[in-house]
Symmetry: D2
Subunit: 141 residues, 4 copies
């Protein structure tokens, strides 16, 4: 897919469960690792301190995942992120999990641009400099 | 809601993140804990060994969560499970997270009845004895 | 043992691994849950905001665990905490994991009294009011 | 140190806690990831199926860690493994966590060679072919 951002990620032992497969909750942790690697690839961090607006972070308001085939210990998965939608204050990512080129799971995360003040959160418009970077990765661009 | 099954669950320190709140992936672990407590309340286990069909388990094929308000360390949440839908081979749960009676998150999980053979999985019709127990908790019953 | 503080804790599915047993790292999470329940039993929290000294917390400087028998999904363990040693600025806990009265693991944690200032940590003498409570649970008392 | 095996590992968001630092239990997960990468570097897996002895795995009998300085989100740590001791049926690893060349934590794990039979474990002598590989990495060699 054009504009995909990808990483490789090995399934670790502690991420498996007694059924012998990657625990379903750990797909979400992998999605987040991918998202944060994506931010770094943009020259940013998902936790941006020292912006003029304050410290910006991106809590999720919605996440989902569909599981097609199990993943197992030591397998190396390809995780691919596409920016599906950019709103005024939110961004939606689609994540595809592949093994040997075959899709084994598909996830989605919607995160909201937020200014953190002493442990409280306030939604905010996405700063222009960040919006431009996200838009350059929009899946439909 | 009629037929809800509920547990109380305290947010633990290791479940928080640097933003000071319950990490979004841990809602899924809590949903699973609730699901398994529900199975025990039915006199069953989510991993049923020694059924005549073999060992039955219930891997997820789809999960999702919407987050409305953050949860914090040491808060005691109420987790409520409703059986939303029972198919031939699958069951869908809806999970409501409440704090002081107020809904802070809503999740969903669809699990598929599966016979495990030596680390492989085969989908199977839900055994009648289990179906009857699930139906007695159907949200719309 | 005199002065033990105990809780019951069920082994959850996500805490097991492909070997079918409680993952060794999760004993440490259980130790921490026990420690924090102990603080609550003293009428305190391990994260004490609004003390005159600032926000006090108790990061670990050393932890260890010996594993004698595996623990499995849905087993209910008894976790017992004893205060082994109280120093000027640190406290050492010993934790015993039991199943059906039989010890299956033994752990230890040394935590240091710390004042948190904007994400930095400074070691501090244990406040007298807290020291008195800890001493009342000293194993050798 | 001679014979060290090292990997780089970034601290992930979900591994931090509300104190803003890498949660102490996650050092153990990192030690295990390092151990398993070490096995792969030997051309082996920590879970060796199809050995003539059966499936061999290496559950821990003892683990410990000392924490000198906190680690934070997105920092890249160097994890170094040394084989400290090889017994008849066990191996002890020492793990050093470094950031920018500076040691921030030191851990230890003792694992026991075990044959798995249908979810049960039996200790066994380390097979010669594996012993030879471990010995070539002995810290004092």
């Amino acid at each position: 897919m054009p504009n995909e951002f990808t990483i490789e990620r090995r399934v670790q032992f502690a991420e498996t469960d007694l059924a012998g497969v990657l625990h379903f909750s750990n797909y979400y942790r992998m999605m987040e690792e991918l998202e944060h690697a994506f931010w770094r690839s943009l020259g940013e961090s998902v936790v941006a301190r020292g912006m003029k607006e304050g410290t910006i972070s991106w809590p999720r308001v919605a996440t989902s995942c569909e599981y097609k085939e199990p993943a197992r210990f030591e397998e190396v998965l390809e995780l691919a992120l596409a920016v599906a939608k950019i709103g005024n204050r939110s961004v939606t990512y689609e994540v595809t999990f592949r093994r040997d080129g075959r899709t084994i799971a598909i996830g989605s995360m919607t995160a909201v641009c937020t200014i953190m003040h002493h442990g409280h959160f306030e939604r905010a418009a996405i700063p222009d400099s960040i919006r431009a970077k996200l838009e350059s990765h929009l899946a439909s661009a």
